[in-house]
């Protein structure tokens, strides 16, 4: 008993003052264990879990409400929308809104556009970030630390500050109304370089050394030894960079002129004007934007959750 308490206190110094942990009661006497036996543990547990389920269930209902509203409104017909009493259900589901959305916007085209942009950014990050991360983790070269800290410091500069000068830069490069200003600056995110360095530094040096002794070239080491060890890292970079690019809004809004080249969030945002009076079409837009992501999330829940978790845990 005492060892367990000691162990705990060692791990969590804050616990030092907690007498209960040390098996003492408030006055510091040895506690009487029989007191705790009045309820059987199981009853307590069952009661407790009942509460947990109840609270979680009700909260989930509240949290899912916007989604419910979205689905409901999407399938409402014009007559039901014009109704003057509140309804939380739907009588005659209609696909009219979806039809209007697909006819009246370039939604499908925009998904393809978004895929192009996000795909290019993801591929870039998957290649360049582990590559740089590997060099920073395992190579030694003059200026390594300085360069690394320079990179890190650029991470502190929020993108919104660079909106104006990058716009002028894109203008001078003739990049307005192309995907270049959306893709190129995002090809190698410093954050993922950092993540890669952390991950790759844990790969044992023996592996690399053995390969070098065998005369393996550096790119080969990277592709055949490092990358295969990096599956979780690649999954994280892939998922995070893809989702980041997929959902990005302000960049496409500034740089894209031709509606045919719009990405999905942009098309969705345009619904406010285009179908300003038609709640069902707006919701159909939201639904079509959210549904594929939800399905992907349902299938790859574990990987996606892990990527997000890793983005936060690595300081």
């Amino acid at each position: 008993m005492a060892e367990v308490a000691e162990q705990k206190i060692k791990t969590y110094p804050l616990l030092a003052g907690d007498r209960r942990l040390q098996g003492l009661d408030k006055e510091g006497r040895e506690r009487d264990k029989t007191e705790d036996q009045t309820f059987t543990r199981q009853t307590v547990h069952r009661w407790k879990m009942g509460w947990v389920y109840a609270v979680l269930g009700i909260s989930a209902l509240l949290l899912a409400l916007p989604f419910y509203y979205m689905v409901l409104t999407t399938f409402k017909s014009v007559e039901e929308l014009a109704a003057l009493e509140l309804s939380f259900w739907i009588k005659n589901p209609s696909l009219e809104a979806l039809r209007q959305l697909l006819d009246g916007t370039i939604y499908l085209r925009s998904v393809w556009n978004s895929l192009l942009v996000s795909g290019a950014i993801t591929i870039g990050n998957l290649l360049f970030c582990p590559l740089a991360g590997y060099a920073f983790a395992k190579h030694r070269f003059p200026g390594r630390e300085a360069i690394f800290y320079f990179l890190l410091s650029t991470m502190m500069i929020p993108g919104s500050i660079l909106l104006v000068p990058n716009f002028l830069l894109a203008r001078d490069l003739g990049w307005i109304n192309t995907y270049w200003p959306l893709i190129v600056p995002g090809l190698a995110s410093v954050f993922f370089v950092f993540m890669s360095r952390q991950f790759i530094s844990k790969i044992p040096n023996d592996l690399i050394q053995a390969a070098r002794v065998d005369g393996c070239s550096e790119p080969r080491i990277f592709f055949q030894i490092i990358l295969p060890c990096c599956r979780p890292l690649l999954a994280s970079i892939g998922i995070l960079s893809f989702l980041g690019a997929w959902n990005s809004f302000i960049g496409p809004m500034i740089y894209l002129l031709d509606e045919q080249s719009y990405t999905t969030p942009l098309v969705i945002s345009m619904l406010q004007g285009r179908f300003g009076n038609q709640e069902n079409v707006q919701m159909a837009g939201s639904l079509l934007a959210i549904l594929p992501a939800l399905l992907l999330f349902f299938v790859f829940q574990k990987q996606i959750v892990n990527s997000f978790a890793s983005s936060g845990l690595k300081e």
């Binding site: 014009v78 509140l86 919104s160 945002s269 004007g273 845990l313």
Partner: protein, 848 residues
């Protein structure tokens, strides 16, 4: 172990081989990525032969219409026209961007205010100067009142395309029953509203409610346009004129003191208009001229029930129908101006105009509309056969009204700086709206009534004098607002006029000269290129560097990107922040103004000052971050129990993670509807938490909280996820041991869970703070940013936190210098917080 470490430390000095494989790999990789990327670049606009025409509209239908017209035009003249659709929501920013990039279309559709703004910086052509006599012939076709708004300093930058105006829709059957007549003057209007309300029918102000640009309906009958030029040519304001203030007060009365529904959905408004249910139905409403088709579409059998009359005349003023509408412009950079002009002339011909009218009316549902043609010929006697067509039947009533009022159309001359003045007045009106709403609600509550029963009671004369006292309070407030804002607005417009005369006009007249000049920033490119070259040469020649060429190559991409897209832009931005620069003009025209932008940014009287923005940002952060953490902690602790169906629960709680802010904001915009049919209001009212619907997004006091609600909901998933991941790393034995010792959940939570996820807590707190400074999409969407009238960040700019401010200055107002200055101030603020963040992180990691 030690030996290995030493070995590794020596390892780098070993020469890393750069063999054939490496080279060929990189060649292949570069080729592959170049190929992919150039495939992506295919969307760049085709600058081919045809006349490029941007058709701004709200549906795809308008571009279909213009394409059909283009086909006719081609068979007539042989000129190809390519029509590209564009939305009203962001058309201004798109045009500006295209002009700045030197790649505008040849011609396009715009709103009414833009032609002058663009013309004054040399973006669009002066029709009079460019097309002389030909233009004079064309201009004879238009109603005379429609042209002044495109004029500035003798230039004329646009021509009208179609007109819209407000009309009064009323229920004929109801009016007959109540013995009412359609109002012809304002005093009649007021009386009719009172009688309707007394009988339990609403008066609804739909279109243009609360919109500053629609004030002309109320002020021009008295000859007051707000901003005008006096005899000496100096810009002046009518704001302090009692007659002007009375007109504005009447507008506020009509907008806010009659419980307009704000349903958002036109279907529902029309549903109310045709309903017979007292307390729910609308007896009379103000709306635009396009509505007839929709009413007809929704209730084809109800044609007998309703009627339309023109906007009533002021009792002692002129009959004035002021218009909104759209215009055509031709861009200065266009190489095909004559072809573009021919196309516009074709569009304004009578057959084309008739084609447009039919095309618009033939659309289904809400897309069906009747817009008033500005060409006189369409309305002439000879066209009687056209107007008698059966397909025009659905809009017959509106057409008849339009016919009566075309001669009374009036617009006023635009002035440079009008945008600034309008913006200030718009904020005044937002504040007045909030105030009117508060007054009415608090009065109602004093009588223990909801808003609508109170308004009914007022109309029935139950509380004599109260309406007058509310109006008096509004009058006092309005007077004070105008008195406080007039000096600032005058200063802004005078500065704009002066800087036009001194800076822009000379540049615009000598564009060619400026285009030839270079600027400091142009030299930057060479410096950058030299830097890269130097780095490459250094690595290739200096021995210790050359040995590590592979390593440098591996890190080259992130380094190059950081240099080009972060470091250099930071320097550029610093330079720009000391200059006055309009991005449509050549960079050489940037004018050094020293600290002007920084000083102005910190002046509280300036409408775009950073102090208020930073304050809002802090409020936002101070509420979203702690609340988000507490909620997430709660859910994470609950989810950390051994639940059945883990996957299901996590799916439920984590799903917002992957949704985009834009689509979620769209949903919330509807949940936040200010009508009692908005879901959130409906819930609160069902639970008896509120008596009157809250004006969520329409009230400056609640707007930012709405954004926060959305942000907390959207951010919760990520925070829960992090906390849960942290909680799961805490060894279970700790809890077991604590349980054995009799610790309850409270002790376990405070002494084990919370300390266990300390790093996550700090991470979330700091990231929330940084993220709060970056919030944009949510505010843009909830503020109706992509709606009809361009970006607005909530009523009275309630949601103008830092990034919206930068965006607005840079990409809506195109004041690049000022935007850069604000961006730099934001940078300093964020930098300070990043330092705090790093300190906290250091504390968060006690070991290693």
């Amino acid at each position: 172990m030690r030996a290995r470490l030493n070995y590794l430390r020596n390892a780098p000095s070993r020469k890393v081989k750069m063999n054939g494989f490496l080279l060929s790999f990189f060649r292949r990789a570069m080729l592959a990525s170049l190929f992919t990327l150039s495939a992506l670049g295919l969307v760049s606009p085709l600058k081919a032969e045809p006349v490029q025409f941007w058709a701004v509209g709200n549906g795809i239908e308008d571009s279909i219409m213009f394409r059909e017209l283009a086909a006719r035009f081609k068979s007539e003249s042989g000129i190809d026209v390519q029509v590209t659709p564009l939305s009203w929501g962001n058309f201004g920013q798109k045009y500006m961007t295209s002009m700045a990039a030197g790649m505008p279309p040849d011609a396009g559709v715009a709103n009414l205010g833009s032609p002058m703004e663009w013309g004054s910086v040399g973006g669009v052509v002066d029709f009079r100067k460019s097309f002389g006599a030909e233009f004079d012939v064309l201009s004879q076709q238009f109603f005379p009142g429609t042209l002044p708004q495109f004029e500035f300093r003798g230039h004329l930058y646009g021509i009208p395309t179609e007109l819209v105006t407000a009309m009064l829709y009323y229920r004929q059957d109801l009016f007959d029953k109540l013995g009412l007549k359609a109002p012809k003057t304002w005093s009649e209007l007021d009386r009719v509203i009172q009688k309707l309300e007394a009988a339990g029918y609403h008066f609804n102000f739909g279109w243009t409610r609360g919109e500053q640009w629609a004030l002309y309906y109320h002020t021009l009958p008295f000859g007051k346009s707000g901003l005008y030029r006096d005899a000496a040519g100096e810009p002046q304001l009518d704001w302090l004129d009692p007659a002007y203030q009375e007109a504005v007060l009447h507008a506020i009365d009509l907008w806010h003191l009659h419980d307009s529904f704000g349903d958002g959905s036109a279907d529902r408004t029309i549903g109310r208009f045709l309903s017979d249910e007292p307390d729910q139905s609308i007896g009379m409403m103000v709306d635009g001229n396009w509505l007839a088709g929709s009413i007809q579409n929704l209730a084809p059998g109800a044609a007998e029930k309703w009627n339309v009359v023109p906007w009533p005349k002021a009792d002692e003023g002129k009959a004035v129908n002021v218009i909104g509408g759209t215009s055509y412009v031709i861009f200065e950079a266009s190489p095909r101006k004559d072809a573009a002009f021919a196309w516009l002339r074709f569009l304004n011909s009578v057959p084309s105009q008739q084609f447009m009218i039919e095309h618009r009316l033939a659309r289904v549902g809400q897309a069906s509309a009747f817009n008033i043609p500005p060409v006189r010929g369409v309305w002439s006697e000879e066209q009687g056969a056209f107007w008698a067509k059966p397909m025009l039947k659905s809009a017959e009533k509106v057409i008849n009204v339009a016919r009566q009022i075309t001669d009374t159309f009036v617009t006023v001359e635009s002035l440079k700086g009008k945008q600034d003045v309008d913006h200030i007045e718009s904020k005044i009106l937002d504040r007045m709206g909030t105030y009117a709403n508060e007054l009415l609600t608090s009065q109602a509550e004093e009588h223990n009534l909801r808003r609508w029963p109170y308004i009914r009671a007022l109309a029935q004369g139950k509380f004599p004098g109260e309406r007058e006292s509310i109006l008096e309070a509004l009058r006092v407030r309005l007077r004070a607002e105008y008195a406080a804002q007039t000096p600032l607005a005058l200063a802004k417009v005078r500065y704009a006029m002066k800087s036009y005369d001194e800076d822009y006009a000379p540049i615009v007249d000598n564009l060619a000269v400026y285009e030839g000049k270079t600027n400091v920033l142009d030299q930057m490119k060479w410096v950058l290129a030299l830097l890269f070259l130097a780095a490459a040469i250094l690595i290739a020649t200096v021995r210790p560097l050359r040995r590590n060429a592979t390593s440098y190559l591996f890190i080259a991409v992130p380094i190059a990107l950081s240099l080009v897209f972060v470091l250099i832009p930071m320097v550029v931005s610093l330079y720009l922040s000391f200059t006055e620069y309009h991005s449509v003009l050549p960079l050489a025209s940037a004018k050094w103004v020293g600290l002007k932008h920084y000083i102005e940014s910190f002046q509280l009287s300036d409408s775009d000052n950073v102090i208020v923005s930073i304050g809002k940002t802090f409020v936002y952060v101070a509420i979203t971050v702690p609340l988000g953490i507490v909620l997430a902690l709660m859910f994470a602790a609950l989810l950390n129990n051994p639940l059945k169906g883990q996957r299901f629960w996590r799916f439920l709680y984590f799903s917002p993670l992957i949704t985009s802010a834009v689509s979620v904001a769209l949903i919330f915009t509807q949940l936040y509807r200010e009508s009692s049919l908005g879901w959130l209001n409906a819930f609160f009212m069902k639970l008896h938490l509120i008596n009157n619907p809250i004006q969520f997004l329409k009230d400056e006091k609640t707007f930012l909280y709405c954004v926060m609600g959305l942000a907390i909901w959207h951010g919760l998933a990520f925070t829960i996820l992090l906390f849960l991941a942290g909680l799961q790393q805490i060894p279970q034995q700790l809890y077991k041991a604590a349980e054995i010792d009799g610790a309850g959940w409270r002790e376990k939570f405070w002494h084990i869970s919370l300390p266990g996820i300390r790093p996550q807590l700090i991470f979330v707190a700091v990231m929330g703070l940084i993220g709060g400074f970056q919030v944009f999409e949510q505010i843009y969407m909830l503020g109706g940013g992509s709606g009809y009238f361009g970006s607005k960040f909530g009523p009275n700019d309630a949601g103008k936190t830092m990034v919206p401010l930068i965006y607005d200055l840079g990409f809506e107002q195109f004041k690049m210098g000022r935007a850069s200055a604000v961006a730099y101030i934001l940078f300093v603020v964020i930098f300070a917080f990043t330092l705090v963040q790093m300190r906290l992180f250091r504390q968060a990691r006690p070991e290693n």
